[in-house]
Symmetry: C2
Subunit: 196 residues, 2 copies
Amino acid sequence: MTAPPVPRMNADDRRELVLRAATRAFARGGFHGTSTDAVAKEAGVSQPYVVRIFGTKLELFLEVFARSSDQIRSVFEDVLAQARAEGTAPTDDEVWLRLGLAYAEMLADRDFLQVLMHGFSAGSVPEIGAQARAGMGQIYATLMGTGCEPERAKDFIAQGMLLNVMVSMQAPEHSEAGDDLAGLTVCAFGDALAEM
Amino acid sequence: MTAPPVPRMNADDRRELVLRAATRAFARGGFHGTSTDAVAKEAGVSQPYVVRIFGTKLELFLEVFARSSDQIRSVFEDVLAQARAEGTAPTDDEVWLRLGLAYAEMLADRDFLQVLMHGFSAGSVPEIGAQARAGMGQIYATLMGTGCEPERAKDFIAQGMLLNVMVSMQAPEHSEAGDDLAGLTVCAFGDALAEM
DNA sequence: TTGACAGGTTATCACTTGATTACTTATGGT
DNA sequence: ACCATAAGTAATCAAGTGATAACCTGTCAA
């Protein structure tokens, strides 16, 4: 009688689907502000199944965070790899421009960045703090792979953090002319603002 | 029989005391990750009393956030006022140096900064998002009071956001030599690292 | 003295939430 | 055909949570 509303799926695919759903859910509420049931509803499965796949909510969050962190890092690595392939000197300003553009493209898919911010803020949960530091360390190390001065990488990351914060507080959606924040929004996002 | 373990206090003082305790508590766990009971324990009062003073947990958080935001802004305003009093041109690099130093001093009392980060990340709670944007807008406006280019204020805020993030993830406490993150920590905090 | 108000607490409630258990049903290999 | 295994759900639970209600108790003015 109970028709199977959810078609069967192999475990790996289902896991992937739930992970993506969890990324969207955690992007909104962070670790504490998102229930496993919210993740389940987002994924279209039952709450106990979410728990069964990942063991605990914390493990799920850690995996979602690690993915987001890796996503950023791998985008940067791709840019650097391509630059090397083209023979562009890694210290060239051109490379940093491209890194910035690559980051701007990620703004369209804000979930990763918001998950990142939540992870960074949740340092009081020891496991999350540790993974946040590791993720940030890897991103920094990747950027330093250009052979640049630490200052350069730091400034780049700082700009990224500002964008993350602005995205998290939904500045682009809520900036109207005349607003104090509007000036900062325009300045921080620049051209990327047009496509948001 | 039940001795009064908590000495009586007038309402304003008690409110102030609870607000400070709430700042410490929220700095750790953010809005969702901190119970009103945790705040109460931090303040040494009963949980219902916390609720009664502030109405709801959300109102309490908003007040704590507003205070943190105002704290930052007023520190900046003081620096600018003093610079003006000394006749230092507001566009002078000297002013930005002092703003940076003032911010570095606040790192010692991290609670404000961590509360700020939590507020910025919690944009999905409408009231918090609105207040976060307002707070950031005011800080930006204050910095623009130097008469500088938007870029300058933006870059300053970006550096601040990086420091906030690093503080939130407890990078200074967990950076050991050889760690990927250590390089970034040293670079971002600079001299301020010595006194942490 | 007394009594009214201000400053608190204890008891309690309805609800949420993460997790466990037990059950159900496709599906593919033999 | 059949059954073992994999993919999922329904039912349930104990703990935690925000909020309410009822009560207690110094203190100070009249």
